[in-house]
Amino acid sequence: MNQLITWLPFGVAAWLFMAGLYGIVTSRHLVHLIVCLSVVQSSTYVLLLAVGYRTGALAPVLVDVPAGTPTVDPIVQALCLTDVVVEVTVMAVLLALAVQAHKRFGTADPARLRPQRG
């Protein structure tokens, strides 16, 4: 059981990564593709936060906490926090492209966007 707990978070991260990529590769609609992209991004959050966790430690908020109490790693939390908010807007850019592509091509199927030939 202990072994499972030790490797489960990393397993989840790896699973999300691969599942998201599978979703992208088999996608037939751009909005679905972009949502799968955010699933892949979630896997990076899980990995980062799992890497920084420390059993039995407190959150890195030191109000009324004696100095020297072990806390989990604040660095990865800071990285994930900004990434989450930024992801919203990056996905927004891609969705904007998808909206305009749907208007122009009449379809949001990536395979039916006309190929460029040179």
Partner: protein, 606 residues
């Protein structure tokens, strides 16, 4: 000796200017906005050159927020400026200045937001070149990506730009996630995000699975941007449709920055653990040669001028990878010189294509036969650019190629020269063929016109070419030539390359603030002067390019019969069909490529 400016300035200034431009967008004033943007880009160029000069003797290490390392642990983010990084930053800002000058008065649809996006793009590129922190590298990589695909898809009313931007956006974002996963793995083991500190902490363990996989993931993310096979499919789609000034940035420096990222991380983080891994060299040389040849063959078959140049960029990216994969300072120096020369030449070629687009509303070579005869100067620039790509000495491109070939010969890998020569002959011949076809109207080449996927980029009168378009094209080509003839430039680059690969000195400078003693000129570094044999080879490849161009202009049908006879057509057809425009294909190739490289890397480094 001028005091080096604060390294934060070349990043902070364009960011503030971008914010100010968006504020001013409420009441847009195009001339003012463009003027401010050009002035800002020129100022950043000057700052980067000053940083370059200031870092010649010792790296400039700058800790943001005043957070120097405490108790031996770096807790802040730093910029570690060395000559190669500052040089790339200068090239980036120079190209942005040229791009903003070229787009003066045009692209009126979005007011000042275009200039704001370009300023953000500039800041991201400069920060990427100067930083010494791994997460910082990732953040500015993402920023470059977002600014890039916004600029690529800017013409929303045409189908081509939308598709190109989507393909660019999705593949580069997936690449970014791979890099972030690699960073997570590295942080898990070393608990550090500073490049030098990670390298030091990683070297305490023997190389194992985590090291190999994090090397793979971090590199593959950057290699997507560097358009190496099989991560290259997005580049022609994006280049073909991005506005011309944006194309010169993509081809001239953004692709090269991807490779810079790989090598910066390798030499600071992984080299202390791996040392001189010959097997890594083998893998990367194979990948580089494959990229180089695939790009060159596809380039030769194109008739859409921007896609032609895009595939030539892929080919050159392969050559840059070959040069750096030798893992020697000489190879790195040759690549740096090649990048500088290529930046100027390729940018100039794209600007010439942009002028054609402005005058004739099309860049399909099949529709342009002979029409360029009214533009002799542009034609001359285009032909010179083609010769430079083909390896004509003393252009910077030729010098770089010669230095790489010398370095590979010293490493007993003489076959490299053959691959590079084939690639340069094909890419040079493609450009020269179009130069003859479009500007001279010679040849009997018949091609079907393409389905147009994008409209004209510019407004304004079509009768004449404005000087703001021609001057940057001339200037950049001249810069590409200057790189090859400037005395001492190549020797200086060799010295800079020696410092780039010195992980120990880098770590000492960043972590302990100790400036290293000037390295004694190692005998293997070379003096920046190529062997006479390679110079002759370059001249021969340029001549070969001219010959092949003439052959394809006049003798296309017999050539095709020969080619069919050699059963080449089926393979080539398959290659061209791979470029399907379907982003799900590209991501599938991304995954497959990463897996294959990972397995080979694992077997090689075990």
């Amino acid at each position: 000796m001028p005091v080096a400016p604060s390294p934060s300035l070349p990043v902070a200034v364009p960011l503030v200017v971008a914010a100010a431009l968006v504020v001013g967008n409420v009441r847009p004033h195009r001339r003012l906005a463009d003027g401010v943007a050009i002035a800002c880009a020129l100022a950043v160029t000057a700052l980067c050159v000053l940083l370059l000069v200031g870092s010649l003797r010792a790296p400039i290490v700058y800790w943001f927020g005043g957070w120097a390392p405490r108790q031996g642990i770096p807790i802040g983010v730093d910029f570690a400026v060395d000559p190669l990084g500052a040089g790339l930053a200068s090239l980036s800002s120079l190209l942005v200045s040229a791009a903003m000058l070229f787009s003066w008065r045009y692209f009126t649809e979005i007011g000042q937001l275009y200039a704001a996006l370009m300023m953000v793009f500039l800041a991201a590129m400069v920060a990427f070149c100067l930083t010494g922190d791994l997460f910082d590298l990732f953040v500015f990589f993402e920023l470059m990506g977002v600014a890039g695909f916004a600029l690529a898809g800017y013409e929303i009313e045409e189908p081509g730009p939308l598709q190109g931007a989507i393909n660019f956006g999705v593949t580069n974002t997936v690449g970014g996630f791979m890099t972030l996963t690699g960073i997570g793995l590295l942080y898990g083991r070393t608990g550090a995000l500073n490049l030098a500190e990670i390298g030091r902490a990683l070297a305490r363990h023997p190389p194992d699975g985590l090291l190999v996989v994090s090397l793979l993931l971090v590199s593959c993310g950057f290699l997507v941007k560097a358009a190496v096979v099989p991560f290259h499919f997005w580049l022609p789609d994006a280049h073909a449709v991005a506005p011309t000034p944006v194309c010169i940035l993509f081809s001239g420096v953004m692709v090269e920055l991807g490779l810079y990222g790989v090598w910066r991380v390798y030499w600071t983080v992984f080299a202390p653990s791996l040392g001189q891994a010959r097997t890594l060299t083998g893998l990367l040389l194979a990948v580089g040669c494959l990229t180089s040849l695939v790009g060159a063959v596809e380039c030769f078959l194109q008739q859409h001028l921007k896609r032609l140049l895009a595939f030539s960029t892929i080919s050159h990216a392969g050559m840059f990878l070959v040069g750096t994969a030798l893992l020697s300072p000489a190879g790195l120096a040759g690549t740096a010189v090649y990048v500088a020369g290529h930046g100027g030449v390729k940018a100039s070629l794209f600007l010439c294509v942009g002028i054609l687009m402005h005058r004739f509303r099309t860049i399909d070579a099949a529709r342009l036969k002979g029409r360029g005869a009214r533009l002799p100067l542009v034609g001359g620039l285009f032909a010179l650019g083609g010769l430079a790509l083909g390896g004509l000495p003393p252009f910077g491109t030729a010098l770089g190629k010669e230095l790489i070939e010398d370095a590979s010969a010293r490493a007993h890998l003489g076959g490299i020269a053959a691959v590079l020569t084939v690639a340069t002959v094909l890419t040079g011949a493609a450009v020269l063929r179009e130069a003859g076809h479009v500007f001279l109207g010679i040849g009997r080449l018949q091609r079907r016109p393409l389905h147009e996927i994008q409209g004209p980029e510019t407004g304004g009168p079509r009768g004449r070419t404005p000087p703001v378009m021609v001057v940057p094209a001339v200037g950049l080509l001249a810069a590409g030539l200057a790189v090859g003839v400037l005395p001492g430039f190549a020797a200086g680059v060799e010295a800079a390359a020696l410092r780039f690969v010195d992980s120990g000195a880098y770590a000492a400078a960043v972590l302990q603030g100790v400036s290293p003693p000037a390295p004694a000129a190692a005998p293997t570094a070379g003096t920046g002067v190529p062997e006479p044999g390679t110079v002759v080879l370059s001249g021969a490849s340029a001549a070969g390019a001219v010959l092949l161009a003439l052959l394809s202009l006049y003798a296309a049908p017999p050539l095709r019969r020969l080619w069919r006879g050699l059963r080449g057509v089926r393979f080539v057809g398959w290659l061209r069909r791979l470029q399907s425009g379907d982003v799900t294909d590209y991501v599938a190739w991304l995954v497959l490529g990463t897996a294959i490289y990972g397995v080979v890397l694992a077997l090689a480094l075990r």
